[in-house]
């Protein structure tokens, strides 16, 4: 299970961005995870509760934006999604395919709480 190392990496990215934006708390984190990236949501959630303790990310809600693997057949141009296992082109049976999506593994955006800033200060 490499999800612990991965979750620590998520925390680092989120904390960096939150601090840069002077956040006092992070409430939501949206991740995009492709189905080919072999990451288990439940494990990330489990480790998240543990690694985020005592940080401004504690209690932040994780949102998983799951992206299904999409392949394109180079012989007949059919684009298809993988439901489960890897399969050849459903139209012509070719294995001459490329993977268009499904390998994403990134932090997309976060929702943060900021102290109300003084209007003068922000416009100055």
């Amino acid at each position: 299970m490499h999800e612990l190392a991965v979750t620590e990496s998520i925390l680092k990215i989120v904390l960096e961005s939150a601090q840069k934006n002077k956040a006092t708390a992070v409430t939501d984190i949206t991740l995009t995870i492709g189905s080919l990236s072999s990451i288990v949501d439940d494990s990330v959630q489990f480790y998240w509760n543990y690694v985020s303790q005592g940080t401004i990310c504690e209690n932040a809600k994780l949102h998983f934006n799951r992206v299904r693997a999409t392949l394109k057949c180079l012989d007949c141009d059919t684009t298809y999604s993988l439901i489960d296992d890897l399969t050849p082109c459903p139209s012509c049976g070719s294995i001459n395919v490329i993977i268009l999506s499904g390998e994403e593994f990134q932090v997309d955006h976060i929702e943060i709480i900021k102290e109300e800033t003084n209007q003068d200060e922000t416009t100055r």
Partner: protein
């Protein structure tokens, strides 16, 4: 005040940056690096030992051994073959990462070496996510594991530079559909350089050794 902050950052980014540093160290020392991955029991150590035996004497090799527990069985075997070996005990972690390799590289006499083989932790999932900075990601798939592995572990096949199909001497005894296996590989990694071999009989090793020797810069 609530605010949305766009990030869009790859989660493996910091590991990948460390991996680039490792690659720079290898380039600077003119050392070719291999990240050898496989499931437990696929024959990683046997393939390394057979490779050591067959490489030209001019090629000086070092080995980095990754294990999840403090056992030195594999590194002892390598050291017994007269090869400098560094053992990394991952402390239960299922993979090696670029940071561990950085520490291990510092313990090897790089200026005197031409080749480093990193024996990753036996696992088909986790090592795939962590680039180490080596030049080639090599996977050993052994026939007894079954012909469905590319379909079940697509991620590791995606990032490969070379595939070694090991234990081909067992072909007569095992239902392994080579065409089905290779169809999966072809979809994930078209034209992947593949060598079928047996670390037990030595069959198929000549082509692998020739490929490897060709990559190595002699100093």
């Amino acid at each position: 005040m609530k605010q949305r902050v766009e990030i869009v950052k790859r989660i493996m980014d910091s590991n990948d940056r460390l991996a680039q540093n490792n690659q720079a160290v290898l380039y600077r020392n003119q050392v070719y690096g291999i990240n050898l991955m496989a499931s437990p029991g696929a024959g990683k150590t046997s393939v390394i030992l057979e490779t050591i035996k067959r490489l030209p004497a001019t090629i000086k090799l070092g080995v980095i051994e990754g294990d999840t527990a403090p056992v030195t069985i594999d590194s002892d075997k390598i050291a017994a073959a007269g090869i400098p070996a560094v053992q990394i005990n991952t402390g239960g972690e299922c993979h090696l990462d670029a940071n561990m390799i950085e520490l291990a590289l510092a313990q090897l006499p790089l200026e005197a070496l031409n080749l480093i083989i990193v024996e990753n932790v036996g696992n088909l999932i986790c090592p795939a996510a962590f680039q180490l900075g080596t030049h080639a990601n090599v996977l050993i798939a052994s026939i007894p594991e079954g012909d469905d592995k590319p379909y079940k572990y697509p991620n590791i096949y995606r990032g490969l530079d070379v595939l070694l199909i090991n234990k081909i001497d067992l072909s007569p005894y095992i239902d392994f559909r080579m065409d089905y296996f290779q169809q999966g590989v072809e979809m994930l990694n078209p034209g992947l350089k593949t060598f079928a071999l047996s670390a037990k009989t030595g069959e198929g090793f000549d082509a692998w050794i020739a490929w490897l020797t060709d990559k190595i810069i002699t100093k």
